[in-house]
């Protein structure tokens, strides 16, 4: 098996077989048979006044998110040229069936505006985008770094708890305001980091730390590939939903959390303040949207 097919095989295994993506195909089949209302399942949660709280619905929507992530990573792999240019018919047929489905298309084009699945839909319809990219060893090393960094936040309970709270989710009567308050108190912070029986709030604290680490490492990768702006943009778009969310919905919440940590830094503050500025710079670059421009321009979206 040549290396391009090996890469495709691995991505298929990690992002399709090992996630909820396969279950999402079952839901599509159920919808095709009239046993599932996909328009309702894949509605915009913001427009739904009550939010989406039913556990089954949340799980099913997560499975569709896994499926769209799978297509997104395949699109990145195609843009980089690390998988065969002629994808296997099974993958093409699967993608066409999913990405052309009306409810799914509304989900990723209208409700949540995800560019990479749209580009993959175009690709399997015969209009694949081509970008300027580095030489083979660099592209595969860059993609490897991208996948390692993505793994920092994927299927991590701490990060999921943090993002849930950021998205105005509650655990009982504990929410985002409690998290910010916790970050201002070093004793509570220390307890959250040390305890072996973490509460949801403790997990959110840890998840916040891990998410910031993820942001800093991703931003560093994006700056390393700045010579290839479309590649840089494609890496950013994979995570764009949360960065756009941070910019439009939570405003400066993440920045406030970083600031909360440093409100009483004391004598060691001068070095810490420099790091605060650095992290704030990272958050700003990731959320101000400029990283997304190059791929949108190339795709004429």
């Amino acid at each position: 098996m040549n290396i391009l097919r090996q890469n495709l095989y691995q991505l298929e295994g990690q992002f399709f077989c090992a996630t909820g993506a396969r279950s999402a195909l079952d839901h599509l089949e159920q919808a095709r048979r009239g046993h599932l209302d996909l328009d309702t399942l894949l509605r915009n949660h913001v427009d739904d006044g009550k939010g989406i709280t039913d556990e089954l619905e949340v799980t099913q929507r997560d499975e569709f998110d896994d499926l769209l992530h799978y297509f997104a990573v395949l699109e990145i792999a195609c843009l980089l040229g690390v998988v065969p240019r002629n994808l296997p018919q099974e993958i093409v047929s699967r993608a066409r069936a999913v990405l052309k489905n009306r409810a799914v298309r509304r989900y990723y084009r209208t409700h949540y505006k995800l560019l990479l699945p749209e580009l993959f839909r175009r690709r399997v319809s015969g209009s694949g985008l081509r970008i300027t990219r580095p030489k083979a060893a660099v592209t595969s090393a860059s993609l490897a770094a991208f996948l390692d960094i993505a793994a920092l936040v994927e299927q991590n309970e701490d990060v999921e708890t943090f993002l849930w709270m950021l998205d105005d989710g509650w655990y009982g009567d504990v929410g985002l305001a409690d998290l910010v308050d916790h970050l201002r108190d070093a004793r509570k912070l220390g307890r959250s980091l040390v305890t072996k029986r973490p509460t949801p709030l403790d997990r959110a604290v840890r998840g916040f730390g891990r998410y910031i680490t993820f942001c800093c490492t991703l931003d560093a990768l994006l700056q390393r590939v700045e010579r290839w702006p479309e590649l840089q943009s494609a890496f950013w778009h994979y995570h764009a939903y949360w960065f756009e969310f941070l910019r439009t919905k939570t405003g400066s919440a993440l920045d406030q959390m970083v600031a909360a940590l440093s409100t009483s830094s004391g004598e060691e503050g001068s070095g810490a303040l420099a790091h605060v500025a650095q992290v704030r710079g990272v958050i700003f670059r990731l959320t101000d949207g400029h990283y997304g421009a190059a791929l949108r321009a190339a795709a004429r979206v």
Partner: protein, 279 residues
Amino acid sequence: MTRRDGASVLWLVQTHLMPTKLPWGEGSRAHWATKPNGSALVFVHGFSGSAVDTWLQFPEFLRQRSETSGSDLLFYGYDSLRTQVRPNAVKLVAFLGELLAQPARTMNSTVDPPLYRDAAFQYDRVTIVAHSLGAVVARRALLDAHKSAALWAPKVTLILFAPAHMGAHLIPFLGAVLGVFRFAPIEAIAKWQFPTLAELTPGSPTLAGLEKDTAKALATGRASYLRAKAVAIAENDNVVVLNDFCDDPVPVVMPRSHVALCKPTETFTMPLDFVLGCL
């Protein structure tokens, strides 16, 4: 292609598979060589680190160098905040034992059948690259291997970045390694007594025991792998105590901080050159 500085860089070839999860430790990652040559590098992070962000660009660079084109690159992660050295060392030595005794099975458990490696595959040499607390965990793991007369132990070489063998200064240590949480008042956090911090106090039972056991093992003449092949320290390291440990060699000094010296970049290749020079 050979660069002007003599480094051999592979521009046109992908030498490793895409990274996979490694089901040992926490958050561990594997970059398996597509044409393995019987060598592996195992990276072990320090306090509050992780398999990914402690080493940053190391995987990217190693994937593009001819010296490591056939080497498996394994980034081992573990709970360095809430779990003490001993249990972490036990888990690491279990992983090393599995990796070296059953290398094909180890690799094959992380990929699907078309990518399986031949059952006859064996490692000739494994290099452990450890940072800070990771050096303490790795050395204790190798002492366990020596104690159980593990047949694979002589295949191992140790390379250390800013090892914490002789202890760490608590407040600067926390301030350096806690990531975003270093912005908070460190003394207040320190009072919560991360389990490993007491162990890193200079002269602690953990460190005193490590030195005594290492010296004893080295004296047998059958545990040369317990002597580090090379050690790098940070020029202005105010975090770890810089005294020499047992028979470890004279260290190389790198002009970076305790946390940054193990992170190569395009303009700071010393850590990469340091590791490649030991292979």
